[in-house]
Symmetry: C2
Subunit: 330 residues, 2 copies
């Protein structure tokens, strides 16, 4: 049961006060060069590290950042977590992963807890959370970065810019003669509706097409829902020849069902996903998708958080460019 080395131990060894040790560490007040050297030597000799609990209690701020996502097991979010933790480690911050399982109550509870515990920051991809759930937080002083398709209240936002990529996807699909597009979207009660659907719908007319409500299947972001959605679309009397999916997990489900039904992809139906999750290039046919780079999202979120910790108070939105990735499914 080794004893913990405290700042008092360091101060004693260096022959200074704990205040000086603290200031050497934080740099918040000038310290004479020789004093600094002595203190640093003492720190090294004793292997001292600050007690973050004591620091948090004193400052009212922890070194934790909550990453609140619908499903960390989804490769997109797993990659987001990996990069975020890497970026934040440099700032001395830790990432606490929180799975909401796409449940609004979980989202609210986790958010509230992170605020209560005075986390250094929160990075959240809302799924069913309402803007009003976030409004109250604007006043708490806990920096919140939302990763969502649209700006979301008065908080920092990382949002995709998928217009060009979606247009490219439509070009590709029409170039191979498709005329009847459809979409497998997320649930109807998802936060902010489905901006990926809205974008597709708004661009379709430029290609002489439209995306009527009847050609939108809905479900959770699961493989099963993707399969069910695909089956639904295939049984429609106005059967589509190009199916867009709100994410790659749904697209893989659609692929499952296509094989089961004997529908040739991309022969009979072109299939386009979203995200470019790690498995997108592994399935056969390889999935054509609109890549939303998790690494860039994580880096942007880390930057926004850093800005807040440095004192910025006005909300910012960073747009991350999505990229059309043509493979063999469309």
């Amino acid at each position: 049961m080794q004893e913990r080395v405290t700042m008092a131990d360091v101060a004693r060894l260096a022959g200074v006060s704990t205040a000086t040790v603290s200031y050497v560490l934080s740099g918040k007040r000038a310290v004479a060069p020789e004093t600094r050297t002595t203190v640093e030597a003492a720190i090294a000799e004793l292997g001292f590290t600050v007690n973050t609990a004591a620091r948090s209690l004193r400052t009212g701020r922890s070194s934790l950042v909550a990453l609140i996502v619908p499903d960390i097991a989804n490769p997109f979010f797993a990659q987001l977590a990996a990069t975020l933790q890497e970026e934040l480690r440099a700032l001395g911050l830790h990432v606490v992963v929180c799975n909401t399982r796409a449940d609004r109550e979980e989202e609210r509870a986790l958010l509230a807890e992170a605020v209560q515990q005075r986390f250094a920051g929160i990075v959240i991809t809302p799924f069913r959370l309402l803007p009003k759930d976030l409004e109250a937080l604007t006043l708490t002083g806990t920096p919140v970065t939302v990763s969502a398709d649209v700006p979301f209240g008065a908080v920092d936002t990382v949002a995709p810019d998928a217009r060009a990529a979606t247009r490219q996807a439509l070009e590709r699909v029409t170039a191979s003669g498709r005329r009847r597009i459809a979409m497998i979207a997320g649930p109807h009660d998802a936060t902010g509706g489905d901006p990926r659907l809205d974008l597709l719908r708004s661009l379709a007319p430029q290609f002489g097409m439209s995306l009527p409500r009847q050609l939108v299947a809905r479900g959770e972001h699961t493989r099963e829902a993707g399969a069910a959605g695909f089956a639904e679309l295939m049984s429609h009397r106005y059967r589509p020849d190009a199916v867009f999916c709100a994410n790659d997990v749904l697209a893989v489900g659609a692929l499952d069902k296509a094989q089961e039904l004997g529908v040739d992809i991309p022969g009979e139906v072109a299939l386009v996903g979203h995200d470019d999750a790690s498995f997108a290039s592994l399935v056969r046919p390889r999935l054509t998708t609109i890549r939303y780079p998790a690494e860039d999202v994580a880096r942007a979120a880390a930057q926004l958080l850093k800005g807040r910790l440095d004192g910025r108070t006005v909300p910012r939105t960073v747009r991350v460019k999505a990229e059309f990735v043509a493979r063999s499914s469309a």
Copy 2:
């Protein structure tokens, strides 16, 4: 900037002392039913939650559990993280994810930090860490659970029992007439060598085969290394007709290279992975693999940690049964 509600506020409203509030929360001493009710009402009314920083400072134990893994973006570890956080949430514990990128110094640094900060526990999948790096920790009082193929020093361990599954894999492979097995293993300096290789090698004679050193390719646990390893094995003069991979990421790399080389899987070469990562059933041919259930590992780790927090001091090892999953690659 809302004010934080403290225990003193609750005590005042309930007309009791902070000690009583504390005991209501912890249950560490008897409280009269009516007192308890009053306190609980006050807690609910004020929306009080304990300040974990203060609690940690006082008790010397935080509510954080470090999950230290080579790569959270690997679907196996992502699933481990998801389930672990779910299991620990019930105990009021949070999961801090730490990526080591398979680097021993990172592993050591992260481990040391978690100990220094008096984390409630550590769950680690060592990759290059040496047993001696862990030895010192046995004395610190921080519960460590190691998820590794072999028991690892005097700490709690979650280890796979893959003997039956590996035997089944060998049966399958020999049933289709294969005689020359090979393996794409991890790096030679990995923690504990490569127990999956050792197991395969020890079972091979039962099937009249052997696994000579020349038929073992080595590399990091990446897709690229899998491809390189496969190429190496294919160029061997004693060309194998069955290749086992230490994990599914390597196997997918092997699949890439097989396609590139025009080697038919499973026609010319049978391929068997390990883990059953989420993408194993998505690649074509679908990957035959030895499933090591991340969910069960996470649950076992959570149980072991719980045991430690409840006061157990003797190390325990839980064996999780691996399962042979026959798909089309072998």
